[in-house]
Amino acid sequence: MKPAPFAFVRPRSLEEALEVLGAHPDAKVLAGGQSLVPLLTMRLAAPAMLVDINAVPDLDRISCDDDGVRIGALVRHAALLRDEDAARTQPLLRLALSHVAHPTIRNRGTTVGSIVHADAAAEMPAVLALLGGSVEVASVRGRRTIEAADLFAGPLESTLAHDEIAVSAWFPALRPGERVGFAEIARRHGDYAMCGVAALVGPERTRVAYLSVEEVPTIVDLTGVAPDDVGEAALAHLDPQPDIHATAAYRSQLVRVLTRRVLEQAA
């Protein structure tokens, strides 16, 4: 199939992009297109206008300091995966990004796009949620910061307003004494996971994030739970959903196995 007709603009500045987006209620942002273009091709979406932000300058920067990693809206998954400073500042980024699709998709898809697309099966929304990161958004009305805890409203639904562009995402750094782990199971390497688990283990708290288990990324606190009990303890807080890829019972089994596995990794 082919997409339905739409008007197209490719602004040269953020201000111009925000103005067009503000003036057209049925316009959509086009970043890497790795999620949006298939939706258009299958005619699951038919916006009247696309605002291609790929020619907006300065959105492709990665900056790291002691506090964390900030990435612009046009940082491709592949660029973030390669970035040594980012991997040192927050190792969970590289651990998780290597599971996002295939290298060819990562060459074009953006990490910020993946976060605001808010697919419950995607890795980076869960990573942002686990680390307690945030997204900076802009519109003609001004700028605001959305904390990860307030970002994911439902499946494929983030709390960005229609006229807002996510300009960057921020991931807190790994602090001394903290360890991270990541594991997932997919039918084929590079496919969306049937269940994925990320862990952040610190001196005081053990927190674990689940992707592809519920309709939004879910965080469970497993502080103080004995290693043999982590799977059941996590399931007490989760309601694994069935879909065409896995039954609820199979997802529950993946939660048991993977929770243990990531916590061993992060021990």
Partner: protein, 158 residues
């Protein structure tokens, strides 16, 4: 009302092509329909199969997941651009021929572009790295063994 056309220039295999396309024209379709470069094959049209993979400024990219109007600033390389200047086969193409890395040939253009870029990044892949290199491309004929062999052979020929 007829659909608006965008006058754009696509730079493909070192040549500029001026075309007028609707915004919804996928890059894969622009290459085939507007430029007549039918070496780029269209399989699944949602990014999974890899048959339409072209190089965008050297990096493998799904031509079916991009609009032609978004490709205006890029240097695009298609399978037609992989042969030697004298028209003979490039190293990856030659290796596919030598190793029987294709049968029906439908997926081959996507493999050739992907491997060409892959060997730029990693000129001496191990067998495992060769498998990883082609992990995002589907082939329904060969069973992949000869494709992996062709990656290793192409690394020698380069």
């Amino acid at each position: 009302m007829s659909e608006e056309l965008h006058e754009i220039t696509l730079r493909v295999n070192g040549h500029d092509h001026a075309v007028a396309v609707p915004a919804r024209r996928l890059l894969s379709d622009a290459l085939r329909l507007d430029l007549g470069l039918t070496g780029t094959h269209v399989g699944c049209e949602h990014g999974v199969c890899g048959a339409c993979t072209v190089l965008l400024d050297g990096a493998p990219t799904r031509a079916c997941l991009m609009f032609a109007v978004s490709a205006v600033e890029a240097e695009i390389t298609t399978v037609e651009g992989l042969s030697q200047p004298d028209g003979s086969l490039g190293p990856v193409q030659q290796a596919f021929k030598d190793c029987h890395g294709l049968q029906c040939g439908f997926c081959t253009p996507g493999f050739l572009t992907t491997i060409t870029a892959g060997l730029e990044e990693n000129p001496h892949p191990t067998r495992d790295e060769a498998r990883e290199m082609v992990g995002g491309n589907l082939c329904r004929c060969t069973g992949y063994q000869n494709i992996v062999a062709a990656v290793l052979k192409a690394a020698e020929l380069r």
